[in-house]
Subunit: 232 residues, 2 copies
């Protein structure tokens, strides 16, 4: 019943009360022309689960979301974006006031160099598409950060720990969550996940298969402990 | 009430009774690597509306559908596909026994030449992606057809009638439905549409803005009349 739910919520410890957390989720879409675009298999589920968990733990949560097919998270401010460029602007604009930023979105690394406003006409034979790098949001945050606890995600098919540790160092992160996307049963579209977490402070934990909500819960336990440790 | 609905359905004329119709709908997805892919803005709504209408008019309907976020159409056989290649196979395999084929799907014209099984590693600077043409389903059907009434769709930003007529001739179609995708208010993701219909027999009709269900209804009126006219 409702009273019980309120009671439970009141009894729920709120270690993130007073904290501002920004989470990014979902894919981005990069236009080739008015019809065609480039994107990726991110469903946004992991980011939305993290936003829900952060809210439950008492934080003020902003979710910067690419185009996804998910219900909004009650009590969480959502900023809708489509392209990598829009996501960059939305995140950088709000970075200063955050205590924690978790970049769970699968932002396009590349976009077509010259998106056209008409529809590309078909030709016989092959076509060469020139792609350019989008701005690296996580790297920019790593360079700008002063007090923020910064978490990245990595999706790897091989050498998970090696590439994860490398990315953590290179982007100046506090923690990184590594997805094994070589494993067909988990990740992107799935409701479940199984990840490795590495922290700057040297922790390395494997979180076994669980719902994305469970994984989100365990991730926050690790981040909060690590963040508190750092400030002591 | 229910009785009234049944009565209406029984009184509904069924000019397509005994006919087999195959309709394609939605986009296709073409992998760049295990994470990234190429697709387009097709929602599948127009194709699903056509399938529903064909069913209502008494036809045996097969819907070959790319990945969409739509509810299945009751009483319609659905064949789910992801890539242009899969759609080609699904349609060609079933072409012989059809009386009418409507290709409403927005099949990718190009796909990455070498999709890779790992995740593409980021590099500094631009990237060149080689694309190759997918097999042209509509053209193949136009070459193979003997008794089938064949309908194509065209999405154009300019010179609608010119490009529509050209495509009708080139692909040996019986009719073509031209969408003006330069008009932001209609088409792809919208529940409404506004189209031009051209037939091989020389008809040219503009169907003004209406729900995709209304448009589907009017399109079948034109196709049925045209098909009957042809066989007389």
């Amino acid at each position: 019943n409702i009273l019980k739910v309120i009671e439970q919520n009141e009894n729920q410890p709120q270690p993130l009360k007073g904290k501002r957390i920004l989470i990014t989720a979902g894919p981005t879409k990069e236009s080739v022309d008015v019809v065609r675009y480039f994107t990726n298999h991110s469903s946004g589920k992991m980011g939305y689960a993290l936003a829900q968990e952060a809210k439950k733990l008492g934080a003020s949560v902003t979710l910067v979301s690419g185009p996804v097919q998910l219900d909004p998270v009650p009590g969480v401010e959502v900023v809708q974006v489509t392209t990598a460029d829009e996501m960059y602007e939305a995140v950088i604009d709000r970075f200063e006031e955050q205590d924690m930023v978790i970049k769970a979105a699968a932002v396009a690394d590349y976009r077509p160099k010259d998106a056209i406003n008409q529809k590309l006409k078909k030709k016989d034979g092959p076509l060469v598409l020139e792609l350019e790098r989008t701005k690296d949001i996580l790297k920019t945050l790593g360079e700008k950060k002063d007090h923020q606890y910064l978490v990245g995600f990595a999706a790897e098919t091989n050498d998970l720990i090696h590439y994860g540790r490398q990315k953590l160092e290179k982007k100046n992160l506090d923690a990184i969550v590594v997805n094994d996307i070589g494993n067909q049963h988990i990740g992107f579209q799935s409701d479940e996940n199984e990840v490795h977490v590495l922290t700057r402070s040297g922790q390395e934990k494997a979180l076994p298969l669980g719902s994305k909500q469970d994984i989100a819960n365990q991730l926050f336990e690790i981040f909060i402990e690590d963040m508190m440790g750092e400030t002591n």
